[in-house]
């Protein structure tokens, strides 16, 4: 039904997609896997007509088509369920299903449109009231409404972009059922994901992208989990993470007692020793990032006691934080990390006053300092004058790490999702940096929802479910199955 041949697309010097070919038959689900930055979104954008390919062709039923804009994609029957849904929360399900549809006349026959919307929902095996407001639905239910909207538009090729990323387990099961129904209806589905278990559960074949290239396509019975991971990473799993160097007993560190963040975290207590990577593992929304944010003093209503090396670190005291070298690295680099200034200014941001006398700064001293930081985290010093936003995701992350090096003493690094938006190559480098900071005696407290990362890099793992600690695992006892069970449906945990 859909055939993509030798598709290529560059953005400036970056080859986002090179020579990618794949085919999709009716009634077929093809997984598209790959790390962040592998080219998955670019492929989707080309299919949806958001950008135009530099080379290659897209064929539908054997006929070459040129997709100039999303409206054309809609006309051809190609539809996307994006991660960020495009529903209007204050409108009813019915209105949302027909919203923006080109075939609805201004004075439409309401009955007919109700019937067709209801039929689409019934087909998906759900029974929502058509007049319910979308804001009252869960994320999973909204996703199904979005799919129903695509069905009434007679979409034949559905592209789903990580549809289960924000869903609960029950909802994931329902989504799987919906996908099976769609497949039985003869729809072709491109299923973009990096959740490997879903690939084996629902898909017929898989295409793996890495650095914009197709590194392997196979039907699902020809491939196993290890092979798929190796294809995605471009190396075997074990090369990714640096070896742990024993750093002696650590009785000094960051002690958190009874941290409360209303609506996010309850009674959170934890000791994060120096020289270790302590990881708070949890699903998106479990409250892990609220812990690090609160310690960084970025959550106004947070309460609890935090003690660093025996001396209290009051929540929200910016002065103490900077003096004792507590660095917070957000998962949202664009708004909470990088300033829209050059690399040099970004590097020295928290340390300008250390290079000033009576408020007057010395640029000479700042430059020298920035040069040293560049050397330590392997950023090319030639790029000090470049705009920080022009750096790759990996280099931006290294820049943020460098800020932690400015203090007099080894401090604390609070880091959320350390490798989000970082490509595979830089990922290994970030992990190496994390280890290096350990060896320097820093406290590393990270949060992550990426299980492989949690297992691969952590010395201590604390699992979090709906704002409460489920259990704690020390180095040798960290294993993926237990952690996964903890953060998805812990035994004995009460739903908050």
């Amino acid at each position: 039904m859909l055939e993509v041949e030798h598709l290529a697309k560059s953005f400036g010097p970056i080859k986002a997609l090179r020579d990618v070919s794949l085919s999709l038959a009716a009634g077929h689900v093809r997984a598209v896997c790959g790390e962040n930055g592998a080219g998955k979104s670019t492929l989707m954008r080309l299919l949806m007509g958001v950008s135009r390919p530099d080379a290659g062709s897209i064929k539908l039923d054997g006929k070459s088509v040129s997709i100039g804009n999303p409206q054309e994609a809609q006309r051809l029957g190609i539809a996307l369920v994006a991660q960020e849904l495009s529903l209007a929360p204050d409108l009813s399900i019915l209105d949302n299903i027909w919203l923006g549809n080109r075939t609805v006349p201004l004075f439409h026959r309401r009955k007919e449109f109700r019937r067709r919307a209801a039929a689409a929902l019934a087909l998906l095996g759900v029974d929502f009231g058509l007049d319910t407001r979308v804001s009252r639905l869960t994320m999973g239910q909204r996703q199904i409404v979005e799919i129903a909207r695509l069905l009434v538009r007679e979409a034949r090729v559905l592209i789903l972009d990580e549809p289960t990323a924000t869903l609960s387990d029950v909802e994931i099961e329902r989504m799987m059922a919906v996908l099976r129904t769609l497949r039985a209806q003869g729809k072709g589905i491109l299923y973009v994901t990096h959740r490997l278990s879903e690939v084996f559960k629902i898909c017929d074949s898989v295409t793996v992208l890495r650095n914009g290239a197709d590194v392997g396509s196979a039907t699902i019975d020809q491939i196993d989990r290890e092979r798929l991971i190796a294809l995605m990473l471009g190396r075997s799993f074990s090369d990714m993470y640096p070896a742990v160097v024993a750093t002696g007993t650590a009785d000094q560190g960051l002690e958190i007692t009874d941290l409360e963040v209303s609506g996010h975290v309850q009674a959170f207590s934890l000791f994060a020793p120096r020289g270790r990577i302590t990881c708070i593992a949890g699903q998106v929304g479990a409250g892990a990032s609220a812990v690090t944010r609160a310690i960084a003093g970025l959550v106004p209503g947070a309460t609890g006691t935090v003690v660093l090396d025996g001396r209290p670190l009051p929540l929200g005291s910016l002065g103490q934080r900077v003096r004792r070298n507590v660095t917070f690295i957000s998962e949202d680099r664009a708004t909470e990390g990088i300033f829209d200034r050059n690399v040099l200014e970004n590097l020295v941001a928290s340390r300008v006053q250390d290079h000033a006398r009576c408020g007057l700064i010395s640029w000479l001293s700042l430059r020298r300092f920035a040069n040293r930081l560049c050397g330590e985290v392997a950023i090319d010093a030639q790029r000090l004058g470049a705009q920080a936003f022009d750096l790759s995701g990996g280099n931006q992350q290294k820049l943020l790490f460098a800020r932690a090096l400015g203090g007099q003493t080894p401090g604390v690094i609070l880091i959320n999702e350390p490798t989000r938006g970082v490509d595979v190559g830089a990922r290994a480098e970030i992990y190496r940096l994390l280890r290096e900071f350990c060896e320097r005696g820093y406290v590393l407290l990270m949060t992550s929802s990426d299980l492989e990362e949690v297992v691969g890099i952590s010395d201590v793992v604390v699992t979090l479910y709906r704002g409460k600690i489920v259990s704690t695992y020390q180095h040798s006892r960290i294993d993926m199955a237990h952690i996964l069970a903890d953060i998805t449906h812990p035994i004995g945990a009460k739903a908050a």
Partner: protein
């Protein structure tokens, strides 16, 4: 250090060798304006040059004040003109009773307090800076009207000769002050921790919070600096005209905004310089004087200034989208 300075030199060289389109456009506009001015008969005559330089100075000092607000990410203030007018009146009143130095000091304090209070609202409460400044401006007019009953305060005859007037090196004294303030403002931006923090906060407020920069203090300080510069403007105005009233503020406010925009200070904050503001002031004022010399009347001046501001904002949003 050799490595660093040579890389800085290389960046400069690259910029000169392959100038960005924006730079070319800027230089072209400047040249065109200069040509237009020179082609205007009587532009280079002493009286019109003096007028030009004096006007530039009033607008300029206010624009320098505005630049602190804009770079800090608080867009613009619509209360600086009113603040300058109040400072002018405070200056005259204190001058008449307590002498010149006290007058200047009182004017500066008045300016700093009025805008500093707005800075507190914006810094502590994250109140919308534009709305705060509009409200403040209305408040200032209201209070001033009540206190002065809409009257003009005059400098007493015996003190007039003590005012800073006349020329230095052939330029009106106001212009010398403006030049000095530009250099001073630029130094504050470039070489103080406050100045650097202002850039950080303007270019990424949440990033600044995450790094632990003193966002509240810096925002308030930015407004205090703006108030001080508005205070200087007030002193200059009162000194030139031997009197002060609330009418003073009316046009300089808007011209200062136009100048900052034309100078290319990023509206969303986080970049810009006093030198750019200076260029903006020069451009806007030159256009206005040329219009006057060609015999266009006041309504044309307003019309053209409005058009320029609109054009800059449109061009700017277009660039932002790319």
């Amino acid at each position: 250090m050799v490595g660093v300075s040579s890389s800085a030199a290389r960046t400069l060289w690259l910029r000169l060798k392959a100038p960005s389109r924006l730079l070319v456009v800027r230089v072209a506009i400047m040249l065109a304006l200069a040509a237009l001015a020179l082609a205007t008969p009587s532009f280079l005559s002493a009286p019109s040059l003096t007028t030009l330089l004096t006007t530039i100075s009033f607008v300029g000092c206010l624009a320098i004040a505005m630049t602190f607000v804009t770079i800090g990410g608080n867009v613009m203030s619509f209360a600086l003109g009113a603040t300058a007018a109040v400072s002018a009146m405070v200056f005259v009143v204190v001058l008449n009773t307590a002498g010149y130095a006290s007058g200047v000091a009182a004017a500066l304090v008045a300016g700093a307090v009025i805008t500093g209070l707005q800075g507190c609202l914006i810094g502590f409460l994250r109140a919308n800076p534009i709305i705060v400044s509009i409200a403040a401006s209305v408040l200032i007019y209201g209070v001033a009207q009540r206190v002065t009953s809409n009257e003009t305060v005059h400098v007493s005859e015996t003190l007039i000769q003590s005012l800073l007037k006349g020329k230095l090196f052939g330029a009106p004294i106001e212009f010398i002050v403006f030049l000095g303030l530009t250099a001073f403002g630029q130094a504050v931006l470039s070489f103080t921790t406050f100045g650097r923090n202002l850039f950080y906060i303007g270019s990424g407020f949440r990033a600044a919070e995450a790094v632990g920069l003193p966002t509240v203090r810096t925002t308030i300080l930015a407004y205090v600096w703006a108030g001080l510069f508005a205070g200087v403007t007030g002193v200059l105005l009162a000194s030139r005209y031997n009197q002060a009233n609330m009418e003073f503020a009316l046009r300089y406010d808007y011209d200062a905004i136009a100048a900052v925009l034309v100078g290319g200070i990023a509206i969303q904050g986080g970049s810009g310089s006093m030198l750019r503001t200076f260029a903006g002031v020069a451009a806007v004022s030159t256009i206005q004087i040329v219009l006057l010399l060609h015999g266009f009347r006041e309504e044309w001046r307003l019309f053209i200034t409005g058009l320029i501001v609109l054009a800059v904002v449109v061009l700017y949003s277009k660039r932002q989208r790319q």
